[in-house]
Symmetry: C2
Subunit: 209 residues, 2 copies
Amino acid sequence: MSSYIPDPVIKRLPMYYRYLSEKEKENTLFISSTELAQLMGLTASQVRQDVSAFGGEGRQGCGYPVAEMRHHIGKLLGKSKVRTLTVIGMGNLGRALVRYETFSQNSFQIISAFDTNPKKAGIRMGAVTVRLMDELEETMREAPADIAVLTLPASAAQKAAERLYACGVRGFWNYAPVDLHLPQDAAVVSVHLDESLELLGYRLEHNEG
Amino acid sequence: MSSYIPDPVIKRLPMYYRYLSEKEKENTLFISSTELAQLMGLTASQVRQDVSAFGGEGRQGCGYPVAEMRHHIGKLLGKSKVRTLTVIGMGNLGRALVRYETFSQNSFQIISAFDTNPKKAGIRMGAVTVRLMDELEETMREAPADIAVLTLPASAAQKAAERLYACGVRGFWNYAPVDLHLPQDAAVVSVHLDESLELLGYRLEHNEG
């Protein structure tokens, strides 16, 4: 499990997990590399390479065992643990994420939410009550979060990330349009919505041209 | 402008655009490949390759002209045009996106929003009034959208995308946890939030291990 898996394969693991979960729900026992490739939008040979890279095993003449492979990927993704989340910034996006139910189905649990605006403090949203940023350190001592969801303006994100890191938070799901600079043992995954939309603008322009 | 630019470079264009915009606001006239590389988290040689791939030009001994290069990338990204957006699905995420102000600053304009729930029809959200999906075809004839933002359950996304395609929509910003199958002249960019969070879970697991 600790062996090296190339980054592009890691990025595809959640998608493998999603499709294998669907197949398991349909009571499919085995799946071929060809079928998996079609679902994933890859070639069969790429699927075989991926599977070999993440340590999955097929059975001669049957294909890949769906439940077993899903379980294996789940372990790689750390799905056996419940990860606790704190949402920092209760703007439109923060409020949407706090109410997003799918996370909890996937072993992620939102346990707190913060904002700098006193008017928002004390308001119940989803399963949590919004607290003021002043209470961050105290709250993290009492109920530590594994992951901070940063839905803050770009100007406030780095400073908030550093405070959270000092509180022991090591996972950062960053929606602020800025790249965070944190020590090496912090794991950062950014979702830059504006850039994603601009990429779509490029593709549209290109297709039309 | 119609020459081939590799996909990884295209994906970095919005980030180049963002940093060059910041530099232009600071009245910086020229920027070196080294400084740009630091901002972007790349090597200087990679920046030089990127710039050469997207057709930017440096000036001997000065570096890259900030305003000129930003303008060039803006043209590549189709920023001279205003793109119209329609949001399909007024759940938590759809409601957040409809109110997200940054898009309009970036030449994207939300002009309509739809839901299947009659209770949501007629409600004003952000700059638009929610309509029923029954009115989709009629609305698209009167006010065509360039891009559909799909914030729908996975089970409804493909069918909605096909209806929108039939209405002439060619850009799809897909938040549904499903891969869309559309004709080649459709441009699709997906934001799979669950997969992004699961990737963070993997990195966290791996860092701890």
